[in-house]
Symmetry: C2
Subunit: 350 residues, 2 copies
């Protein structure tokens, strides 16, 4: 491990001059050619700064903590950590992922761990979009929220969230563009999911915009976002619809969509010929194990976490900057579960 000391000796100069040159604080302090020569030999000798020394001196670790709940089978975890990793590396930081169990004091403990490592900032991620209280972090440690917002009206902390409304609007618009007019929505009846209201709002907005405000949208909420609840809800919706069944369904989640597909098949409907469906989440493998391959709205965890890290770095480097609410769009992933609507007259002929 070559130190500044080594390169100073090698050049017959002092450590502080080397330090100045290496930190590009040499404007009018070290003459240009010398500075250049220092940097060159540093490179040559394979100098890498000792981060412990730096940290000790500057109270800066060039490390960022990602604190999040980790259930062993969270489908979004890899995308989240991956995006955060990449962004951190890009910015010259390292990412430390600190898992937090669901035990009571776990979050405080995680924060403690992070602080002890002297991280320069913390990203708090939720396991799904939710409202949460501001964590007990000293004012001196910048932090941002990922996939969650603080209780209280105005963002007092930078928050990175998905644009659920836009995503569901787009999905519904896609169905409308395919000629469907009788479109239902299978939501979820659990207020812990903030997304619940946002996705319904996007759905309604698209319908209103394309069909006018006259149409009463067909909406049934499943008990939870599971496959079986989705299945049940779909049956309910078809029964409620009676003789005018929907030709397309927008679903709260991919799992909901899967349940819906099972219900539809049980009723003798072919997918996507008789019923088009769009899911939400773009859970990995969903597209592979689902047939027809599911058209769905992606929850862009990778982009979100990358953005969260970028925002955090910004706040680390500009401590006085204002908190922001960043909304990242949810792209619609076109696959095979949506078909153009067939006018009902033609359908009867077959």
């Amino acid at each position: 491990m070559v130190r500044m000391r080594d390169i100073a000796d090698h050049l017959g100069i002092s450590v502080s001059t080397v330090s100045l040159a290496m930190n590009r604080k040499d404007q009018g302090r070290v003459n240009a050619p010398l500075a250049e020569r220092i940097r060159a030999t540093a490179q040559e000798m394979g100098y890498t700064p000792n981060l412990h020394a730096l940290g000790l001196k500057l109270n800066k670790s060039h490390a960022i903590a990602l604190i999040c709940r980790t259930s062993p089978d969270d489908p979004f975890l890899s995308a989240m950590t991956g995006g955060a990793q990449a962004a951190a590396t890009d910015a010259g930081y390292i990412l430390i992922t600190i898992p937090v169990s669901s035990a009571p004091g776990a979050e405080a403990e995680a924060i403690e761990t992070a602080l002890q490592r002297d991280v320069d900032g913390i990203v708090f991620a939720a396991d799904f979009y939710r409202r949460r209280s501001i964590p007990g972090v000293p004012d001196s440690t910048p932090f941002v929220f990922l996939d969650c917002v603080s209780t209280g009206a105005n963002p007092v902390v930078t928050e990175v969230i998905a644009d659920e409304v836009q995503g569901s609007f787009e999905a519904t618009a896609h169905l409308l563009a395919a000629g469907h007019t009788r479109i239902g929505y299978i939501g979820v009846d659990d207020d812990r999911y903030l997304a619940r209201h946002l996705r319904e709002r996007g759905f309604r907005a698209a319908l209103r915009e394309h069909l006018g405000s006259g149409a009463a949208p067909l909406i049934v909420n499943a008990a939870d976002p599971s496959i079986s609840a989705g299945e049940q809800a779909a049956h309910q919706l078809f029964e409620r619809a009676g003789s005018e069944p929907p030709t397309a369904l927008f679903c709260f989640s991919d799992r909901t969509a899967f349940g819906v597909a099972q219900a539809a098949r049980a009723r003798g409907l072919r997918l996507p010929e008789d019923l088009s469906i769009v899911g939400f989440d773009n859970v990995e493998y969903t597209s592979e194990f689902f047939s027809p391959r599911l058209t769905t709205v992606e929850l862009p965890h990778q982009r979100m976490s990358a953005e969260a890290v970028r925002q955090l770095v910004h706040r680390i480097e500009h401590p006085r900057s204002d908190p922001l609410r960043i909304t990242v769009p949810c792209p619609l992933i076109h696959r095979d579960s949506v078909r153009p609507a067939v006018p009902s007259s033609e359908r009867l002929e077959r």
Copy 2:
């Protein structure tokens, strides 16, 4: 942030005494009651050691690096990092995950990053079980292999791998125990997968043990582990089997199994009534989106990575210990895709 200095002042003693007491190096150096009192007040004042200072002094960071390829949708990534995280935390270390792209110099770069952070050890993980060369890491930095083995006969480095043979043996034995006798195996025809041979070996061994060496096992290899290749291979197998079709199939992977299921259904077979299948991997969501819920062998990434970290910590703390090859068992996950075999006479009656 309270320092040793603070607690020394508070007690009117010197820093070195505190250090001695805190590090339990006080045997016959500090009198017992004082040492105890020091530890008590440290606790009270909320002392936490400054890791930068420690690292600087001792060249130890209490950090471990996990270096691995990360494709954004590796289904095993969360389990792997999760297990490693937990084990590292348990051992008082922190885990730094360093992603490595598939670009040429990427691995060297990742190692560089790790070394610069002064990690105490490195876990190298492969994206699937494979043989690989020893990475260019200084002798002073302990490392272990996860899900890979070194080229060369004897392990020169500690390796943690899954017991693929045992897993497939158990799966096949389960099928046999359910009364099946005509059992086929859909493998994969790609030698990059070391698992390929091991799984086939387990399959053959179970058959031999239960059925004797007379039976020629029905084996078809798919071109790759994808769904479509599995589907094709299954058709091929059924054609080859002719009038004596298998009543159960063991599959190289869950995706293979999914393809197999599609092929079977296309041939009018009901699952699991007419055909039992067992997969391999226990990929998340596979059980949910697969119907019937897939009985499969789990690739225990969480346990493996935890074990790798434990081994690494052991090597960090006992540098002269011998390299080991650790094999962790693959449990069979019982779900709904296996049914007891029905004697062929009864089958015809229905």
